[in-house]
């Protein structure tokens, strides 16, 4: 098991992301409002050894109550509109919202009008847009790190 861990550390160092510095942190709450599960799978791998977002102070937290960023995936379905708003209202100020993936941005939405509300920005103010179908873990990591640098300046 120890050799596995040593190898995993090596994978992280081989990545293209910048070296972590100090003083950064972002608590992320993810909400899926109707995705195809692609954005979830890529977001999960953004925490895997190749990218390891935690080392930059970025982590997915279990509750919106202590989250800085609401990371939303998928086109907003009529059934997920209220849960999304509830999660947003539970967040402390200052709070940010990111729309992750083309569906969340409202591109090429598929579905019936009565099942879909639309893009995330029809429901909440969006601070960060991460395009892609789905965005790669690299793109997710890069966009989130830029956001942290931009907002902590």
């Amino acid at each position: 098991m120890l050799t596995l861990l040593r190898d995993l550390r090596r994978l992280r160092r081989a990545g293209a992301l910048p070296r972590p510095d100090h003083g950064r942190s972002l608590a992320i709450r993810h909400v899926d409002v109707g995705s195809c599960n692609g954005c979830e799978h890529e977001l999960t791998l953004a925490s895997s050894p190749y990218y390891d977002l935690q080392r930059f102070g970025l982590g997915v937290v279990a509750s919106p109550r202590h989250a800085d960023l609401l990371l939303v995936t998928g086109p907003v379905t009529t059934r997920m509109r209220d849960p999304l708003l509830t999660a947003y209202e539970a967040m402390p100020e200052p709070r940010l919202v990111a729309a992750l993936g083309d569906c969340a941005l409202g591109c090429h939405l598929l579905g019936t009008p009565d099942a879909l509300v639309g893009s995330v920005d029809t429901v909440l103010p969006v601070d960060l847009r991460i395009p892609g179908c789905p965005p790669t873990p690299d793109a997710i990591a890069t966009a989130l790190l830029e956001l942290v640098d931009r907002t902590s300046r």
Partner: protein, 465 residues
């Protein structure tokens, strides 16, 4: 296609089930005027039995095939069909605000409910679970999905057959190839198109590449469910490698856009397939190395046996498919019989200890990973070139495609009027298996549920559509 009257429909279904057919799906068509039930024979052929609704009512078959429970409830919620004899016909897709209408009543001393979701604590799709619990023990679980219902099937109606592929393909990223293939097979069967041997080979490569990353992800998920970070990270890194390989081979990490009607534009030269085989060999070595560590990690292994048990009788009764069925010793696998893909002499595997528990489902993933790596090694023995189909088969207005996804048998039925889709229905392995998850969870400890759930690792998007 013959449309039965009520009594003849039940008799036809009963006769097929007695003849060893398995229930494979049921849906409403023609705006609810007709209901069609699909059944799969032991040799893999699909029979479709239709019944005309009389004043919106058709007889239920849920007493004959318990697996039809969700399908009949969905047909009721989306098309208003009433199923005579299905009592109580609880809402499924429809989100009834009255709790007592969609959950079973909570009875007994000290019984309480634990409500979880639709938003979960990790990076997980949205869905609501309502546990009936005494102390820490689960008495019953009601899963309320369809928070992600996008109306994909109705939205696809009226589009061309080629355009319909977009709706089916985007139902789920984790099953994009399997769902897309089930749709393509259905359309091609309707149009009388027979795949060339090159096409069956190209598509089998894509389907197994999807299974590869998916099963690696499932092993990582079980490690995460136990809280074993090293195992989770090892297999998550392998999942990443498999997805990077997909991007190298097809330009997309989830193989989106690779399944086209009637042909394939996948082109891999000799050098690319050679490199791919080398990478697959490296993934195999790393998989075995990680698996050895997991097998000899006592604190990990202690968590797996005897929880979330789904025995062979449960599998038959609930119509469980895929790795979850095989982990209980029921060797059903669409790949054994499929004619439109290249699986010569394919034999479904079952684990040495087919106990139907979390351990068996994990062991099964490893067995299938080895099988998939062997298949890919054989299939990638030379360049892959763009290819098509031959228009030699009979045409039909309604046809089906059946494909083994990483989660199990996935059925797609297409009804057409010329080149226009009049109805498309997708019943994925995840849809078939959700009731089995709820059943397997009962009588277990509530804190074990995440692990039991991960051992099935079903998609919500696939079920909700």
């Amino acid at each position: 296609m013959t449309v039965h009257a009520a009594l003849a429909y039940r008799e036809a279904v009963q006769e097929a089930l007695a003849g060893g057919f398995r229930f494979a799906g049921l849906y409403a068509s023609e705006g609810g005027a007709v209901v069609r039930a699909a059944l799969v024979a032991p040799d893999g052929t699909v029979a479709i039995e239709s019944v005309a609704a009389q004043a919106g009512v058709v007889p239920t078959i849920v007493d004959l095939a318990v697996a039809a429970d969700w399908d009949e409830r969905e047909a009721h919620d989306l098309y208003g069909v009433h199923f005579d004899g299905h009592e109580p016909l609880r809402p499924l897709v429809e989100h009834d605000p009255v709790l007592a209408r969609w959950t079973v009543p909570v009875r007994g001393k000290d019984v309480y409910q634990v409500a979880v979701g639709p938003i979960h604590a990790g990076v997980i799709e949205s869905g609501h679970f309502r546990f009936h619990v005494v102390g820490d023990r689960i008495l019953h679980l009601d899963a309320r999905l369809f928070y992600k219902h996008r109306g994909l099937e109705s939205a696809a109606e009226g589009s061309t057959l080629a355009d319909g592929a977009r709706y089916v393909g985007r139902a789920c990223a984790a099953c994009a190839v399997a769902n897309g293939l089930a749709y393509a097979h259905a359309c091609e069967a309707a149009l009388g198109l027979e795949p060339t041997p090159e096409l069956t080979r190209a598509r089998t490569i894509l389907l197994e590449l999807e299974r590869l990353w998916s099963h690696l992800n499932d092993v990582a998920a079980v490690c995460a469910g136990v809280g074993l970070a090293a195992g989770n990270n090892h297999f998550a890194a392998l999942t990443e490698r498999a997805r990077r390989l997909n991007a190298v081979l097809t330009g997309h990490r989830f193989l989106f856009g690779t399944i086209e009607l009637g042909g394939s534009s996948l082109e891999l030269d000799a050098g690319t397939v050679r490199d791919a085989r080398e990478e697959l060999d490296a993934i195999r070595v790393a998989t075995e190395r990680g698996w050895r560590e997991l097998q000899f990690n006592a604190s990990f292994q202690d968590r797996l046996p005897d929880i979330g048990i789904l025995g062979p009788d449960d599998v038959e009764r609930l119509g469980t498919v895929g790795p979850a069925a095989r982990a209980a010793g029921v060797a059903v696998d669409v790949r054994e019989h499929t004619l439109r893909l290249e699986y010569p002499d394919f034999q479904p595997r079952t684990p040495d200890r087919p106990d139907g528990d979390v351990r068996a489902r994990l062991d099964q993933r490893i067995l299938e990973l080895r099988q998939t790596l062997d298949l890919l090694d054989r299939l990638l023995d030379g360049p892959v070139r763009p290819t098509g189909s031959t228009p030699t088969g009979p045409k039909a207005a309604c046809a089906e495609g059946l494909v083994e996804s990483a989660r199990g048998a996935t059925l797609c039925i297409v009804e057409r009027d010329g080149d226009r889709l009049t109805r498309v229905h997708l019943r994925t392995g995840a849809y078939a298996n959700w009731p089995s998850v709820a059943y397997a969870a009962s009588d277990n400890l509530l804190p074990d549920f995440p692990l039991i759930n991960k051992s099935f690792e079903l998609c919500y998007a696939c079920a909700d559509r």
